[in-house]
């Protein structure tokens, strides 16, 4: 689930990082900006655009030059180039789009330079593959991240502030502390569960359930065998001295 993909075609790679092994929900990379800064849809979109900018450029760069840079030098190079790109992006946002937006995003725009999302894909995948694959991977990762952060940010904004994209939508903010990190964690957890269910269902549709005589069925419910261990509903046979092996007369057993 790390740096290899199931198929090496660009469309396959894009679908992999973006959906089937979503970089945020399944590989759990890049959670920090979502949880701390994904509180408003505008922030989400800005972070997505910045991440995509950095990711695509760094991946292409590493794909072309990565073979020639030694392993230990790759992260610093990524960080410096990303920082340069983000300096420009930050300037554009602060001057031409909205200074309040840039101030509200605080440290999270510069943080993308050292974000796991960028270095993981750049050093792990892009450095060893040709530019087409690297581009597909970069787009998949950043769009995968983008969809997740936008959904989380939109939900949190509606619940916490009652607005969407800073436009009041007539929904009274019921939950003033929705900007706290724990809401982000729980939302991400439920989204990951939903994605897993979607993937499981789509896998079961594509591959019909194999015969139960096979020992090894990949679609079998993982918990079916161990489900009833430790169940406290099975109250009837708890600690019945007659049923415990070895507790009777030693001479008898």
């Amino acid at each position: 689930m790390t740096n290899s993909h199931q198929s090496m075609k660009p469309s396959g790679i894009f679908r992999d990082t973006g959906f089937t092994q979503n970089i945020v929900l399944i590989q759990l990379i890049g959670l920090c900006p979502i949880i701390l800064s994904g509180i408003s849809l505008k922030y989400g979109v800005v972070l997505t655009v910045c991440t995509m900018l950095v990711q695509v450029n760094i991946s292409l760069l590493m794909s072309v030059l990565g073979g020639r840079i030694p392993d230990w030098l790759q992260p610093p190079v990524c960080a410096i180039v990303s920082a340069g790109l983000l300096l420009g992006a930050g300037y554009v946002i602060g001057q031409y789009i909205s200074p309040e937006l840039y101030a509200g995003l605080d440290i999270f725009v510069p943080l993308i330079a050292v974000s796991t999302l960028v270095t993981y894909r750049a050093g792990g995948f892009a450095a060893h593959n040709h530019p087409g694959a690297a581009l597909a991977d970069a787009l998949g990762a950043s769009l995968g991240f983008g969809v997740v952060i936008c959904i989380v940010a939109a939900l949190r904004e509606i619940v916490t502030f009652g607005t969407l994209w800073d436009v009041p939508i007539g929904f009274e903010p019921i939950f003033a502390r929705g900007a706290l990190p724990f809401v982000g964690f729980i939302l991400l957890a439920y989204m990951a569960a939903v994605l897993q269910k979607i993937l499981m269902v789509s896998r079961m549709i594509r591959e019909p359930r194999p015969d139960s005589r096979d020992g090894d069925s990949t679609n079998r419910d993982f918990f079916a065998e161990i489900e009833h261990i430790g169940d406290i509903e099975n109250d009837e046979d708890i600690a019945d001295p007659d049923k415990i092996p070895g507790s009777g007369d030693p001479a008898r057993s």
Binding site: E233, I238, I244, G246
Partner: protein
């Protein structure tokens, strides 16, 4: 060496595990009844909202887990009951419902449902409400004022806020035992709480190894670091009777699912719980941060079990080697 193998929760008699949860509900009943004497019927309604909503959410959650909706297993009712008992008598009805929803859907179900949760769901629900609605959670009505409309209640200062602001003086023990001070539904009637503790201990529904170290450490902390200027007796009395510390010690910390199983592990667990709860109170942001302390403590339960089992095993083998019994 012959090992006996029983099924958890390792009861000696042939006793159903659901009796433990039933005992807790029985113990909550007089507390609610007593609160109704002071405040009218509202505490009972809050408790019913809590229990029924918790059971409903648990039924829905068990469908996600593909288990039968086990209302017969009582854990959801206990969660709802504990959450409601820590609510203020003037809490709006949606508060125990929201707390129960968080407790079941975010703390209990994702970790595997009844019997497999790592964190105490009641503590989690209370943490959610404390964090998000701390103003309403900690406004308590003055005793002996029947509550009609909750927007027009006469509020009183709870012991917790008095201790926190340093303005606590001495209270008569009789007042504290009867529960004649503002506080949550199930936690002010100290005499009844102690009776509940005795009942649960003798029914073996809670463990004395968890409860006594917890209370001892809290007392010790109150003696050593008093927040009251009038002597250590007052400090101990007020610290133990304020907020929901005693209630948490009896009902939440001793929860059999989330606490260690070994006796020495339970002693460490109770003691650590006492330290964490008192720290959360004195150095924390809210007047009663017990629920956060319990959530942190829950993570240590398996570690205490392992630690104490290894300590005893190693001491015993060392002693046997010393005596020449074992090589």
């Amino acid at each position: 060496m012959r090992f006996k193998r029983g099924k958890p929760p390792y009861l000696r008699k042939r006793d159903k595990a659901v009796y433990m949860r039933l005992d807790v509900l029985i113990a909550l009943a007089p507390l609610v009844a007593f609160s109704c004497i002071y405040y009218g019927m509202r505490p009972l309604y809050v408790m019913l909202h809590g229990i029924i909503s918790a059971m409903l959410f648990d039924g829905i959650g068990n469908l996600f887990l593909r288990r039968p909706p086990g209302w017969a297993d009582g854990t959801a009712a206990v969660t709802g009951g504990i959450i409601a008992a820590v609510m203020s008598p003037a809490a709006p009805y949606w508060m125990p419902i929201a707390a129960a929803a968080f407790a079941i859907f975010a703390i209990k179900i994702p970790f595997g449902g009844a019997g497999r949760n790592i964190f105490n769901p009641a503590a989690g629900g209370l943490a959610f409400i404390t964090l998000c609605f701390d103003g309403r959670m900690f406004t308590y009505p003055a005793p002996n004022t029947p509550i009609g409309d909750i927007t027009q209640i006469v509020t009183g200062e709870s012991l917790g806020s008095l201790l926190r602001s340093g303005a606590a003086t001495s209270f008569k023990p009789a007042d504290l035992l009867i529960g004649d001070f503002p506080g949550p539904i199930g936690t002010v009637a100290i005499a009844i709480l102690l009776a509940c503790a005795v009942y649960l201990l003798f029914r073996r529904s809670i463990s004395v190894f968890t409860l006594l170290p917890f209370l001892a450490v809290c007392t010790g902390y109150a003696v050593l670091f008093p927040r009251v200027g009038t002597g250590w007796e007052n400090s101990v009395m007020l610290e133990l009777c304020s907020g929901y510390l005693l209630f948490a010690g009896i009902f939440i910390v001793t929860d059999p699912v989330t606490s260690p199983k070994f006796w020495l592990g339970r002693i460490f667990y109770g003691a650590a719980g006492g330290i964490l709860v008192m720290l959360m109170r004195t150095a924390g942001r809210f007047e009663e941060g017990c629920c956060f302390a319990i959530l942190i403590l829950n993570t240590f339960a398996p570690a205490f079990d392992r630690l104490s089992w290894k300590a005893i095993y190693r001491t015993r083998t060392y002693w046997q080697r010393l005596k020449g019994v074992r090589k």
